[in-house]
């Protein structure tokens, strides 16, 4: 879609949506949000960019094939489940560490890495579908 308006606003909208998707992802641990919805937002950001600039621009921008991104997410989520192997507790038990960065305590958990994995699975698979559909249309 070659309109000047969309081409002008697409980059800021895409950037904003990507930042917002990360916000939703991280917020999701204690409040509404999470990896799935965050991933959907990020995938729509990529789709908008694809509508404005074409699919190959998106493929260049994300560097990896969307399916590889999904694979990475799936791997990350699976491995998060297996961290509890080393703590002597069952599969997928949430494990926390509290490192402090510059005096600020940051709680980190296998729950979060699992959710980040979900985020990547959703981004990868939905973006892969969306890009395939857009590609067909521009051919």
């Amino acid at each position: 879609m070659n309109t000047l308006i969309l081409r002008t606003v697409a980059p800021p909208i895409t950037a904003l949506m990507l930042v917002f998707s990360v916000f939703v992802l991280l917020r999701g641990h204690n409040e509404p949000g999470g990896g799935f919805i965050g991933g959907l937002i990020a995938a729509s950001a990529l789709a908008i960019y694809g509508i404005a600039y074409g699919v190959s621009a998106v493929r260049r921008a994300i560097r990896f094939h969307p399916m590889s991104i999904a694979g990475f997410g799936l791997l990350l989520s699976t491995l998060s489940g297996f961290v509890s192997l080393f703590a002597g507790v069952p599969f997928m038990t949430g494990l926390w560490i509290y490192p402090s960065f510059f005096g600020v305590e940051v709680p980190l958990a296998t729950v979060i890495s699992f959710d980040i994995g979900v985020y990547f699975v959703v981004v990868g698979s939905i973006a892969s579908i969306a890009l395939a559909l857009e590609e067909r249309e521009t051919d």
């Binding site: 590889s68 997410g73 799936l74 791997l75 297996f82 509890s84 599969f91």
Partner: protein, 522 residues
């Protein structure tokens, strides 16, 4: 928030507090391994040379894990791991019992065989479409279905294997494949939806999805609960999955379209997941309802095996013939479920294991026959005996085993089923078992006669020069044939294990005990 609280909380009311033994991880490890490797393969999808190097060791590891799991279950009885440390029924339990472990082991074996065969059979395009990632993810689904202890989770694993199987089915996106996949997809999605509705119904009745808890509650809540309706829904849903008689038409309509190694996997595994779920639900959860519906099940079983055998006799395309042979086998398994008792269900379990191995071997073998003979059709095939004597020998073993003739693996489950049928006085069911075996023998004998013994037809095109035989093609078939022969000659251990699996399925005290060690399900 996760900030440390000051007041101590009694976690033992909500969480598993006993430390988890390393051996308990065996029930999770097969699925974890398959998903992780499948994900890794997705990441390196375009580095085709890596696929075999990741997938084959992964499948070997799967077989080893399944073997360890089977050993542990056979020696120490069922065991459970509940995800996230939450006490069941709130956490999702994975429970390995003998039935699940036996079938998981058998399916691990055939997945390895198919993986090795696929090294040659799947070309670069197929790999780029993702044969190996789909294979591993499908194995995660199959194994997960066998090992889960939660009925909704069973549904989820069904979906996992179904979606991966869609991918495998349309490897290469040919027109014929899409056509087959559509029939396959529609009926399987319908079956899965029915299953989901039944699960919702079950949850409304019992307020739990944990199978151990449902099994212990079913006795008390039988009064006033519409369990026959529920059971009928489950039977219909699983019969669709298993391709039993009135809802079997999708199988021969779709299994001849994909690559032969994919058809081998499907014929070996997918329908068996359906009958496994049927056994789990009808024998373990609702034994009295199974008793009530046993006549219906028996009629379905008899019609399924007769239709399968007749269909096999009627086909001239080798792949369609094998598809009907799969259906005939499903009839046998359902017959065992219908008869019930340790011998009947034991026979069904043994038949399911035998069928997993033999059907995969059968498909791989006809793949070889068609590759050497240059055609799928019995009308043009011929002279294979002279062309490839070893394949002919393998065909002899596999055909005998499929038809249930001695001395191979098909004999023993058939004897158990016959004995069980005669014991309960269902003479017509035993007659159906025998007649179906006879027709299947005729059908397979016809294949042997025409494709192997008949001299090569004069006008037959020699076809493309045959690729030299390679170990990737011959080892899987040889390995599966070896399993069939050993299983046929030394049936003691499998028969004993299958009977033990059947009796622990009929009396799931140990299963429930492993999920709720304190004995209180409430």
């Amino acid at each position: 928030m996760a900030a440390p609280t000051t007041a101590p909380i009694d976690l033992s009311a909500a969480m598993v507090t006993a430390p988890t033994a390393l051996a308990d991880w065996l029930v999770i490890a097969p699925m974890g391994l398959m998903i992780a490797l499948g994900a890794a393969l997705m990441m390196v999808r375009h580095k085709l040379w890596l696929h075999g190097w990741i997938a084959i060791p992964g499948l070997v590891a799967l077989v080893l894990l399944d073997a360890l799991l089977l050993y542990r279950v056979a020696v120490h009885g069922p065991f459970t791991m509940t995800a996230g440390r939450w006490l069941p029924p709130f956490g999702i339990s994975f429970t390995a019992d003998l039935l699940g472990a036996l079938l998981a082991f058998a399916s691990g074996l055939v997945a390895l065989a198919a993986g090795i065969y696929g090294l040659r059979d799947i070309n670069d395009t197929g790999r780029r479409y993702g044969f190996y990632p789909f294979l591993l993810l499908m194995m995660a689904g199959v194994t997960g279905a066998f090992l889960t202890g939660d009925i909704f989770n069973l549904y989820v694993w069904f979906e996992v294997l179904l979606i991966s199987s869609f991918g495998l089915l349309i490897l290469g996106s040919e027109r014929e494949q899409i056509d087959g996949a559509l029939k396959y997809a529609v009926l399987n999605l319908l079956g899965t939806t029915l299953f989901l509705i039944a699960v919702g119904y079950l949850y409304a009745i019992f307020g739990t999805l944990n199978m151990a808890q449902v099994a212990s509650l079913a006795g008390e809540q039988r009064e006033g609960a519409p369990l026959i309706t529920l059971s009928a829904l489950f039977i219909l849903a699983f019969a669709m999955k298993a391709a039993a008689f009135p809802v079997n038409f999708w199988l021969p309509a779709s299994y001849h379209t994909p690559r032969i190694v994919v058809a081998a996997l499907f014929g070996g595994l997918l329908t068996k997941v359906g009958v496994y779920a049927l056994m789990r639900v009808m024998v373990m959860l609702f034994p009295l309802e199974r008793e009530e519906l046993s006549l219906v099940l028996a009629v379905i079983a008899a019609l399924t095996m007769l239709l399968g055998a007749l269909g096999a006799l009627a086909q001239s395309d080798l792949r369609r013939m094998a598809g009907f042979a799969v259906i005939a086998g499903i009839g046998n398994v359902i017959a065992g479920v219908a008869i019930g008792g340790a011998t009947g269900v034991g026979g069904a379990i043994l038949y399911a294991m035998h069928s997993i191995v033999v059907m995969t071997a059968l498909y791989l073998l006809i793949g070889e026959a068609a590759r050497i003979g240059g055609s799928w059709s019995l009308q043009t095939l011929g002279g294979l005996y002279r062309e490839a004597p070893w394949i002919a020998a393998g065909a002899f073993v596999i055909f005998f085993a499929t038809a249930g003739l001695p001395p191979f693996s098909g004999l023993w489950p058939k004897i158990m089923l016959l004995k069980a049928a005669l014991d309960v006085g269902a003479w017509w069911l035993s007659a159906a078992l025998l007649v179906s075996a006879l027709i299947l023998t005729l059908a397979l004998g016809r294949v042997f006669l025409l494709a192997f013994w008949r001299p090569q037809l004069a006008g037959a095109a020699v076809g493309a020069p045959i690729a030299p035989n390679s170990w990737q093609r011959s080892t899987p078939i040889a390995g599966l044939v070896a399993v069939i022969v050993v299983f046929g000659l030394f049936p003691d251990a499998p028969v004993r294990l299958a009977q033990a699996a059947a009796s622990s399925l009929a009396d799931p005290a140990a299963y429930i005990q492993s999920v709720f060690p304190a004995g209180g399900a409430e």
